[in-house]
């Protein structure tokens, strides 16, 4: 079992390496002008240079900070409001249509509104991230709270649990798998909007770095930024999965 898993893991690494090799070959053969497509060797060198000088590290921290704060903001709001709506059928009925109207609005459409109110500021970027990342969390939480097994409510009544105990000990843990699904989606959205926000509001970060590198035809720097962004997304998703596995270990198969 574990031997085959190692084999699969090795195969997935191999596929990745092959893609990098193809990229290198394509760049060496000049299929695309090196002005636009540097080889992985040049991108890697730019990455090393940027990190050694500390410049890329600053941008990285800027973007990660924005993503995390925006995501936390959206999570707190989404889970809090989602819980309130999920618990009460009346709130669900009253707020449902409004939420369904707001939900499909692209976050980019909110940007001009946010700029009008908050200017080209850090707060504006956070507001846009918060708004965009809110919906997956909110809707998943509403669903998780609304989908409590009715039998558990009877058990709660028979045991004499208080209303708050029912919310904290029954409804919230019941919603946790849904909430984690929402957190994962929200994290992706937060990273996207952090980059877009930086580009629009000229805040120091990987997004702005990529934009400026492209404008200055510094293709290796551009690719270095893209690679770092990919790593941020990958690492944050991995971290969240680890937390999720721990929190939801009761869902693991027996044994």
């Amino acid at each position: 079992m574990s031997a085959s898993r190692i084999l699969w893991f090795a195969a997935s690494i191999l596929v990745g390496l092959c893609l990098v090799a193809i990229w290198q070959l394509a760049a060496d053969a000049r299929l695309v002008s090196p002005v636009f497509l540097p080889g992985p060797d040049k991108a890697w060198a730019a990455l090393e240079r940027g990190i050694a000088s500390g410049e890329l590290l600053d941008k990285l921290l800027g973007t990660v900070g924005r993503m995390v704060w925006g995501w936390l903001l959206a999570s707190l709001l989404g889970i809090g409001v989602g819980a309130l709506i999920g618990i009460s059928p009346a709130a669900r009925a009253w707020l449902g249509p409004t939420l369904e109207f707001l939900r499909p609005l692209p976050a980019s459409a909110i940007v001009p509104v946010a700029i009008a109110f908050l200017g080209l500021s850090e707060g504006m970027v956070l507001a846009v991230i918060g708004f965009g990342a809110l919906w997956p969390m909110l809707l998943a939480t509403v669903h998780g709270f609304a989908a409590v097994e009715p039998r558990l409510y009877e058990v709660s009544r028979a045991l004499g649990l208080s209303r708050w105990e029912v919310i904290g000990k029954i409804a919230l843990p019941n919603a946790l798998p849904d909430i984690f699904a929402g957190l994962r989606l929200g994290l992706t959205v937060a990273l996207i909007l952090a980059v877009v926000g930086e580009m629009l509001a000229s805040r120091e970060g990987l997004g702005l770095w990529i934009l400026l590198s492209a404008r200055a035809f510094r293709a290796p720097d551009l690719f270095a930024g893209v690679i770092l962004l990919g790593l941020v997304g990958f690492a944050s998703a991995l971290l969240l999965s680890a937390v999720e596995r721990r929190a939801l270990r009761w869902r693991l198969p027996p044994g």
């Binding site: 039998r151 558990l152 028979a158 004499g160 105990e165 000990k169 843990p173 009761w250």
Partner: protein
């Protein structure tokens, strides 16, 4: 148990002309039924006869539309902590995200048992139902029989005066069912709790009960009652071969066949 100072002849639970109409449909016709303190009453009848409804009326999960359910002389107004319910669908009644210990703990938390006293109480309760080895397992890792034992342990944590059991062993295999029947008899005898046991298994009803109440459907009403004069403690072989057991079994089978015809 001592909190209700009543003459011993007074029943613990009394149905006074209790009828129930839900959504315009008559579920129960007026019912009169007394259940004595410490009595083990089994309820049988064809499906749709209101067995579970009677149980839910005692639990206070339903309130009668006519008449009153009296508990210790006072009308039942809602669920209370000294009446515990064992549901048939243990898979839905347990918290899947809590371990066996955590599920028992839920009842103690509801009772306001101080945190420091909980671990010892939980260990004792799990030991009582034979789950001491499985305290840290989640319900999903336990067999059906073990999950039902866990639910019983959680109910015992309430130290209930009344144990309501709604077809608790209906989903279990025959061997597990017999083992659990004997465990419940032992627990009822040692705690002195009054047990109201709903089942569709006539032999189970006779084997466990001091009395078997037979219901008739459409709408639900009490059709007959049978005293079970079999010696205790009961024994899976000797009791089931006892002439009185066989006589009651025949009577009840005839009754059910007639009720379903």
């Amino acid at each position: 148990m001592d909190s209700l100072a009543l003459p011993t002849c007074e029943p613990l639970i009394r149905f006074c002309g209790v009828a129930l109409t839900l959504g315009g449909r008559r579920i129960l016709d007026p019912i009169a039924l007394d259940i004595g303190r410490g009595e083990f009453v089994c309820v049988v009848g064809p499906s749709g006869c209101g067995k579970t409804t009677l149980l839910r009326l005692i639990a206070g999960l339903y309130l009668p539309t006519e008449g009153q359910v009296l508990y210790g002389g006072k009308p039942v107004a809602g669920p209370r902590q000294d009446i515990a319910i064992v549901f048939q669908d243990y898979g839905k009644a347990l918290l899947p995200w809590r371990t066996a210990s955590g599920n028992v703990s839920l009842a103690l938390e509801a009772l306001g048992t101080p945190r420091a006293q909980r671990p010892a109480r939980i260990a004792a309760l799990l030991a009582k139902v034979g789950l001491a080895q499985h305290a840290d397992k989640f319900p999903g890792q336990l067999s059906g029989g073990m999950q039902q034992r866990l639910q019983i342990a959680r109910c015992l944590a309430q130290e209930p005066s009344v144990l309501l059991m709604d077809e608790p062993f209906g989903a279990l295999d025959a061997m597990t069912r017999q083992a659990l029947q004997d465990e419940v008899l032992g627990l009822a005898a040692s705690s002195g709790a009054t047990v109201f046991f709903v089942t569709h298994d006539l032999e189970e009803a006779i084997y466990l009960g001091d009395r078997v109440v037979a219901l008739k459907p459409n709408p639900g009403r009490v059709a007959d009652m049978f005293e079970v004069r079999l010696p205790r403690p009961r024994d899976q072989l000797a009791t089931r071969e006892h002439p009185e057991f066989l006589r009651l079994r025949r009577t009840l089978f005839d009754f059910i066949k007639e009720a379903e015809a």
